[in-house]
Symmetry: C2
Subunit: 98 residues, 2 copies
Amino acid sequence: MAEKLSETERETALSELQETGWSLDADRDAISKEFKFSNFVSAFGWMSQVAMVAEKMNHHPEWSNVYNNVSVTLTTHDAEGLTELDLKLARRMDKLAG
Amino acid sequence: MAEKLSETERETALSELQETGWSLDADRDAISKEFKFSNFVSAFGWMSQVAMVAEKMNHHPEWSNVYNNVSVTLTTHDAEGLTELDLKLARRMDKLAG
């Protein structure tokens, strides 16, 4: 099972992810980002790519979609906070969107 | 452009949709439903089917997914309320989930 990040790991990872638009929801120890695409097909196409990555990782996002916009929150429920899995999925999401 | 439903049309449609678990959000003149599946693959598989139907209708849901759960809200932004498009998409969603 994934373990919660240490303070140092969290600081380092967050400063990197904040540069690409992720923000920390301190209440839930989760990270969130809004992804914007040109239209619904692009948004859902990206979600489909992410869905396969997430299923393979056995680590799934909380996400909402309204037309060309996808709002994502990542946290590890089992660990009740951020783990390496969240950072990995966040980076994959950025890469697939980029 | 789709027109807002008349009071009578809305009443008839809502009583039918409420039987399958849809509820009215009167504030927004929207309908909502929680769809539950056995796992993420089933949930996202259903979303993929709905995505194609929605794109073809050019009428898209507001939806959130957390693992096996999909929360859907339907309304017609252009008409600022429920139209025939929402009823049609709601019925298609039920059929694809059933």
